[in-house]
Symmetry: C2
Subunit: 102 residues, 2 copies
């Protein structure tokens, strides 16, 4: 992204929020070793839901739905969720919130 994001740039609220969502992905997809493929593995994914989405996702059925989502998203069955899959997943969790607020 060829943004003019020098250190003195003050991001908008939306941009800072987007960065937070990206940084969260990076936090949970950190590669323990360089051999492992980037992406969020299931154990980190579950930890992420519990520590980062515990209010938006309190409903255990929803968590089971997320388990199923993990399977659905992990199309190539490589056991990790890449950024696109992560973004689509957050979107699917959030969508009901967007509808509630309209």
């Amino acid at each position: 992204m060829e943004g003019a994001k020098g250190s003195e740039t003050v991001l908008s609220e939306l941009e800072s929020a987007i960065e937070t969502v990206v940084e969260n992905y990076n936090k949970y997809s950190a590669k323990e070793n360089l051999l492992r493929k980037g992406g969020i593995k299931k154990s980190n994914f579950k930890r992420m839901l519990q520590s980062e989405l515990s209010h938006m996702l309190t409903d255990t059925t929803k968590k089971e739905a997320v388990e199923k989502l993990f399977q659905d998203l992990d199309q190539n069955r490589d056991g990790v969720i890449d950024f696109d899959e992560y973004w689509a997943l957050i979107g699917s969790i959030v969508k009901p919130i967007a509808r509630d607020k309209q």
Copy 2:
């Protein structure tokens, strides 16, 4: 989302960021009149990019790319971007950032 989000709930950083991205959608998709279909119409979409994404999207070619994105996303040619399309769009703008940070 059947979250236990009472007023006293303190959202995680990720959850607050997600709410900000959702609220931004609602801000730009507000219906001037009840007849109009919900969603972000093009004029509001351009205004959103200029005022909310001016750092992440300074490259005019990128803005033209976004014009194209708007056309690509607005599959049903109804002139508005619904929440799914908005979410996918933000993801596509953000993806290079996620890659840069890895």
